[in-house]
């Protein structure tokens, strides 16, 4: 509880400092930039006060507490030069101000990686931030211990006593100062790069969250880099000079912009949190119209959000519609948050890390909402089982077809070839019998030949009935033409698709027409009109006849087509089947 109070107290203290700074700017008692002109003074106060207040705002909310801390630190560091240049202040305050001012840029660097939450996911990022802080600390402490402002030829704002001075070493002090300027230039450029890179890489909804803070942050970092360049070119810093004054204004105004951006980020995250809370309440009260995925996605403005339900029975994840899918591995941009109930994982939510904090989500969803999510999970499980059932039905049809094809092929390659071979031998035997002038033997052989010819014909019909080989070899259109050749009634072929389709689709279309035409003949029809055409991702088969009305639907056709995920509509003399063929 203590830091929750202490930090806002510190914020208020620094706010007072800023106000005093403004006051002094008017009276001319301040030697920092803020004292150089009215505009500079106003911009300076807006920047410092803005950052501190935006930080306090962020601090008040758990999700952005770290960001708040960073913003307040940035504000204090920003105001460091004003303390340092405050002529009427005790030397301890002025010296502290001088030491603090080095930390503004490191905090910008930290924020560029940590926005919007304040936390840095990648280990390398954490390390880089630590290094930059360490360098700033070395320069800050080194300056405090060894720099005597009275011995610094370029000193203009704090030609006062250094309260921490241990040993005046002008050479070391100016070397440290120059090293810092170069380091600040490099760091400023890196921050601009990070800012642009993150903006470019972010998803659209994440960009909406990041842009308001990242853009002014990048400009502020560019300002710091420009300031460093100016210092390297003109070591004697003069706030009255146009170049320095302009750079200061850019730095101050972009820092103020950053403060506004942080405030915006905090408010929008609060909005996201309250919409998640509302959604959780809705889930608890009654099942929402859409799924949890749609609700959460809309609440957070994250269209890429996905919910994966855990099925403990089959040990896998499925989406709300029952499709098996594995949640993505958590990365920098995407977070994966599990939602548990009574210690069991119900689902995991994969979402844009910039839009929502996972722990926040877990916190907002209450036990009643968890019950609703568990129900959704059960529903997804049923859908997944239904899907499995569907594909198993399709597999049964395909296996049946494959078996029929195998039988047909065996009849052709086995029995038919053997009968043909026997018939050749018989033919030669007949020739021999004729030359033997044994009429009885000749008659016998002739009869056997006729028998074999009959057997071959029957075998061919049998094989064709088992599976018409022309369907595999030439496709649906040719097979339907062939069907019309031997149909028990006139078959008028309308539009016929010439495309090839998966074997199971072609055979189901063929058997549908075969059954429907036989049915038409059985009902006394004088003709059947058949068409097979593609309509988007469906193969549409229609058979129309003029027979008496159909008493029962063609269950066999409906089963076969249904097994492949298609539909059959039957009227009295009309049949229409749709088969998926994406």
């Amino acid at each position: 509880m203590a830091p929750r109070l202490a930090i806002p107290a510190l914020a208020i203290a620094s706010a007072i400092t800023a106000v005093l700074a403004a006051d002094h700017a008017a009276g001319g008692g301040l030697t920092s930039y803020a004292g150089s002109s009215g505009a500079a003074g106003t911009a300076d106060v807006l920047a410092g006060l803005g950052l501190v207040l935006a930080g306090a705002l962020a601090w008040a909310q758990a999700r952005t507490r770290l960001l708040g801390l960073l913003a307040m630190l940035a504000g204090l560091a920003w105001l460091g030069p004003d303390w340092e240049g405050w002529a009427g202040a005790p030397s301890l305050v002025r010296s502290l101000g001088a030491a603090a001012s080095f930390f503004f840029l490191p905090v910008l660097f930290h924020m560029s990686l940590a926005l919007p939450s304040g936390r840095i996911g990648a280990r390398a990022g954490q390390l880089a931030v630590a290094v930059v802080y360490a360098v700033a600390a070395v320069v800050s402490v080194g300056g405090a211990l060894f720099r005597d402002p009275f011995l610094d030829p370029y000193c203009w704002r704090t030609c006062s006593e250094n309260a921490f001075l241990l040993h005046a070493d002008p050479g070391l002090a100016s070397a440290l100062g120059e090293a810092w300027t170069r380091f600040a230039l490099a760091t400023g450029v890196v921050v601009v790069g990070i800012g642009l890179w993150r903006i470019a890489r972010a998803t659209a909804p994440a960009r909406r969250v990041l842009l308001p803070a990242l853009v002014p942050l990048s400009i502020a970092a560019a300002g710091e880099a420009a300031y460093a360049i100016a210092l390297l070119r003109t070591p004697l810093e003069d706030p009255e000079r146009a170049g320095f004054a302009t750079i200061f204004l850019v730095r101050a105004l972009s820092a103020f912009g950053l403060a506004l951006g942080i405030a915006w980020t905090v408010l929008s995250s609060r909005r996201a949190r309250s919409s998640v809370a509302r959604l959780a309440a809705e889930l608890a009260e009654a099942p929402p119209g859409g799924t949890l995925r749609d609700g959460l996605g809309a609440a957070l403005g994250d269209p890429g959000l996905e919910v994966y339900y855990w099925l403990p029975g089959s040990e896998r994840y499925v989406t709300a519609d029952g499709t098996p899918a594995d949640p993505p591995a958590p990365g920098n941009e995407r977070a994966v948050t599990p939602i548990a109930r009574g210690g069991r994982t119900l689902a995991v939510v994969s979402h844009d890390a910039a839009l929502l904090d996972g722990r926040e989500l877990e916190h907002q969803i209450g036990s009643a909402a968890r019950l609703a999510i568990d129900n959704e999970r059960l529903q997804a499980e049923v859908l997944a089982q239904l899907d499995e059932l569907r594909s198993s039905r399709a597999r049964i049809v395909e296996a049946g077809d494959a078996e029929r094809r195998r039988l047909e092929r065996n009849l052709h390659d086995g029995a038919q070839q053997r009968l043909l071979a026997v018939s050749y031998d018989l033919r030669i035997a007949r020739a021999a019998a004729e030359s033997d002038t044994d009429p009885e033997l000749g008659r016998l052989v002739t009869r056997a030949t006729a028998e074999i010819e009959g057997a071959l014909g029957e075998l061919r019909e049998l094989a064709d009935g088992i599976y018409p080989s022309i369907l595999t070899e030439a496709g649906l259109a040719a097979a339907l033409e062939s069907l019309a050749d031997t149909a028990p009634l006139p078959v008028e072929l309308g539009e016929l698709t010439q495309e090839r389709y998966p074997a199971a689709i072609e055979s189901s279309a063929y058997y549908t027409v075969a059954e429907a035409t036989h049915d038409a003949a059985a009902r006394g029809a004088t003709f059947a009109a058949v068409a097979a055409s593609r309509s988007a991702d469906r193969l549409v088969i229609s058979v129309e006849d003029d027979g008496t009305g159909r008493a029962t639907p063609l269950v066999h056709v409906a089963d076969r087509v249904g097994a492949l995920g298609g539909e059959v509509e039957t009227g009295e003399t009309v049949l229409r089947a749709e088969l998926p063929c994406a």
């Binding site: 092929r409 052709h412 390659d413 038919q416 070839q417 053997r418 043909l420 071979a421 018939s423 050749y424 031998d425 033919r427 030669i428 020739a431 030949t449 010819e453 071959l456 061919r460 080989s469 022309i470 595999t472 070899e473 030439a474 040719a478 033409e481 062939s482 019309a484 050749d485 031997t486 149909a487 028990p488 009634l489 006139p490 078959v491 008028e492 004088t526 003709f527």
Partner: protein
Amino acid sequence: MRVVVADDVMLTREGIVRLLQDAGIEVVGQADDAASLLRRVRTTRPDAAVVDIRMPPTHTDEGLIAAGMIRAELPEVGVLILSEYIEPSYAMRLLEEHPERVGYLLKERVFDVALLVDALRRLGDGETVVDPTIVSRLVGRRRRHDPLEELTPREREALELVAEGLSNKAIAARLVVTERTVEAHVKQIFMKLGLDASPDSHRRVLAVLAYLRSAT
């Protein structure tokens, strides 16, 4: 007459070879797939090739493809396809691609050596050969308003022989009438069915087959 025989089933191939040899036809080469068939045909330049429709590797339409290649490369070599299938589509595909010196017979036609030899001789004369079962299947197709009913029995007989690929002269011999009578019959048939009277006797086979398939 010199022929090459191609069939991947040795039993069948040897049976056909023996029957042809008994009928006095010289078998100058045997092959068990399309590639070796093409090699034999190139080296021996036979009068005709007797080709199984199904051969390795896919056992689907290799025979038809090989027929196309032979006809394109060596136009003087006739191709007789032997098939287990009464499939008008296959016969029509063969005729569409190469309307001359090609034939489509059911395998068991080979029982009737006279018919087989006659078919090979017809190919040598530049005619086409379509198995009678295929023609009778197309003629027997059920139609709502059958235009074939307009034909006299004699004309119907002549139509079937035209569809089988016979020339007017051969039809005349078969029906024991003069060639002029056949010409008159054919003219009458084409008029009644509304077909263009084509002077090209090869093209008329396909025209009649296509008509029989599409008439409803």
